[in-house]
């Protein structure tokens, strides 16, 4: 039986591997996710057949409650609230890993046999318990702070108070110290073991808060990806505690996934991970500080939905550049409709997707997929950047940083970030609500360029108006 269960765990790990492999193509990705879910089912079922189960009802009840809550959350969430939801799930994952390690400790200090087969709580295991609790708890509280910032429940501003760095370092030192005490006392005094692990848990929770609080709201996706990596590592550490292969393999895979995503995002923003984690960059404070009105002596030329309709409907080629504002306005359906109407009139319409447009990697792809925009109309930055020069109208919908020419000059927060060359198009129409800057807080010269026309207003409303005009034209 033992061997069969081990084989089932291995099969689960294999299903995760195969599932993740299928994530390499949109055509197979859904199947891949289902395979991974199947792997999870196999692992859970196998566990239910372990010997020595004392309270099967507790297991079933826990599964049912968790599954119910998870299903409801997953059903109800808006697609735009994806980053928040991932953050919440992630926090739960980290918490669970830490709690399992704590249960193992409770089992030990309660004088019972420990959960891992054939082991006592030796120094090696104690060390992995510390890792599991530390990483798990940091992931948990960090993820919930990230959730708060992403959902707007906490302010997005980087929070910084005097002595915060000191406090962070102090907590880290404390966590390490009590981790050491825990390992040292693991074979000896039970009260010291309990005390040290409780203090460790609380410090780790506080640490998670302090680590994420100073990071600006807009950098949260990077934080979520990194915490995702941590929650994988926490699961792997728990796997070490229990000597469970399924946990080690899958946890490590997730750790790698999160880490790769983090690196990719940082690269695309042309910033280092350290800069993201310590920068206090990208809060709304930056936005508030910069100009929301045209500065003196500069003029912007405004346009209306009617004019934009005429302009685009007589164009040969229109390139749509979506950005975070599209997600905020939820304008993807209107945009798709507009593009289709233009195509009916013989206009070539393309979408130019910047790698970090939006707030999550692939954010725009998910949004446009939701609105059923066909694949072959989406172009990556490198593919499309040469085409703006032959394009009549570049339609910038709620994008800002990804089209900001300031990136080409040195000495500002987005210097060196590759951008979409919309300014090479004959006319640029920018759909946004004001002149306020984007995520980075860097002012955008594009708005004042001669070839640029601003279409102020919520992107959804503007797009709706254009759609009506186009229908009237036909």
């Amino acid at each position: 039986m033992e061997t069969v269960i081990q084989l089932a765990y291995l099969a689960a790990a294999a299903l995760f591997i195969v599932g993740l492999r299928r994530m390499q193509s949109p055509a197979t990705a859904r199947r891949g996710n289902q395979l991974a879910a199947g792997g999870m089912l196999v692992a859970v079922l196998a566990t239910l057949f372990l010997d020595d189960i004392l309270s099967p009802w507790m297991m079933i009840l826990g599964l049912l409650i968790g599954a119910g809550i998870g299903a409801v959350l997953a059903r109800q969430v808006e697609m735009t609230a994806m980053p928040e939801l991932v953050a919440v799930f992630n926090g739960f994952g980290g918490l669970a890993s830490a709690l399992v390690a704590l249960a193992e400790v409770a089992q030990y200090t309660g004088g019972s046999e420990v959960l891992a087969p054939d082991t006592e709580l030796g120094a090696g295991t104690a060390f992995t318990v510390v890792l599991s609790v530390l990483i798990g708890m940091v992931t948990c509280s960090g993820s919930f702070v990230a959730y708060g910032k992403l959902s707007g429940r906490l302010g997005g501003n980087p929070i910084d108070f005097t002595g915060m760095r000191t406090a962070t370092l102090g907590l880290l030192g404390g966590a390490v110290f009590f981790g050491g005490v825990f390992v040292a006392s693991a074979g000896a005094a039970a009260w010291l073991t309990t005390l040290s692990i409780v203090i460790l848990s609380l410090s780790a929770l506080a640490l998670g808060v302090l680590l994420v609080v100073p990071i600006g709201g807009a950098d949260m996706p990077v934080v979520v990806a990194l915490l995702n990596s941590y929650s994988g590592l926490a699961a792997a550490a728990t796997g070490f505690v229990l000597g469970n292969i399924a946990l080690i393999v899958s946890g490590t895979l997730v750790g790698a996934a999160g880490f790769i995503l983090t690196v990719i995002m940082c690269e695309a923003m042309n910033r280092s991970l350290v800069n993201v984690l310590t920068g206090g960059f990208g809060g709304e404070e930056g936005a508030a500080g910069a100009a929301a009105e045209a500065p003196e002596g500069r003029t912007v030329s405004e346009t209306s939905p009617d004019d934009t309709t005429i302009l685009t409907s007589y164009a040969d080629q229109v390139i749509i550049v979506p950005g975070y504002g599209l997600a905020v306005a939820q304008a993807q359906h209107q945009l798709r409709e507009m593009a289709e109407l233009l195509e009916e009139r013989g206009v070539t319409v393309k979408y130019a997707i910047h790698p970090v447009a939006g707030r999550m990697p692939g954010h725009m792809n998910v949004l446009l997929a939701e609105a059923n925009v066909p694949y072959d109309k989406l172009f990556e930055m490198e593919e499309v950047n040469g085409e703006f020069a032959q394009t009549d109208v570049a339609l910038v919908v709620g994008a800002n940083d990804v089209v900001n020419p300031a990136a080409r000059e040195p000495g500002n927060d987005i210097s060196g970030m590759p951008i979409l060359n919309v300014d090479e198009a004959e006319t640029v129409v920018v759909m946004k609500r004001s002149l306020s800057p984007g995520y980075s807080g860097v002012d955008n010269e594009l708005f004042y360029a001669d070839s640029t026309k601003m279409l102020f207003g919520d992107a959804k409303e503007s797009a709706d108006a254009i759609v009506s005009e186009l229908k009237a034209l036909a």
């Binding site: 599932g19 492999r21 994530m23 193509s25 949109p26 055509a27 990705a29 859904r30 996710n33 991974a36 879910a37 792997g39 692992a43 859970v44 566990t47 372990l50 004392l54 309270s55 507790m58 826990g62 968790g66 599954a67 809550i69 998870g70 299903a71 997953a74 994806m82 939801l85 991932v86 799930f89 992630n90 994952g93 918490l95 669970a96 890993s97 709690l99 249960a103 193992e104 089992q107 019972s112 929650s231 699961a235 505690v241 469970n244 292969i245 080690i248 899958s250 946890g251 895979l253 997730v254 790698a256 996934a257 790769i260 990719i264 999550m360 990697p361 692939g362 998910v366 059923n372 066909p374």
Partner: protein, 103 residues
């Protein structure tokens, strides 16, 4: 030691597999990977079901509930997202109305 080896191999494997996921799928990858990290549900089951009771059992039970939320919610939401990608592929041939498929 053996566990550590498994860890190293998995890290290599993860790196190989995941660095090839296209940008388009990064959001679903993030949530799908997150769901997989819910594998800790196995540990939670062990903790909830095999503890002698007391603190240990309650910690295990709590772990089980939150881990299951992570797993079930994570996979479902990823599926919802990927479903949209699948639809998009199907309909990319043209903008036929749904009814067209019946014939």
């Amino acid at each position: 030691m053996q566990n550590f080896i498994v860890f190293v191999l998995s890290a290599f494997l993860g790196n190989e597999i995941l660095s090839k996921v296209p940008q388009t799928l990064h959001t679903p990858l993030m949530s799908g990977a997150n769901a997989i990290s819910g594998i800790t549900v196995v540990g939670a089951l062990i903790a909830a079901g095999m503890s002698g009771g007391g603190w240990s059992a309650w910690l295990g039970f709590l772990a089980l509930v939150v881990a299951t939320i992570n797993v079930v919610g994570g996979f479902l939401v990823t599926d919802r997202m990927l479903q949209m990608f699948a639809q998009k592929q199907r309909s990319s041939g043209g903008a036929e109305p749904e009814g067209a498929k019946v014939k």
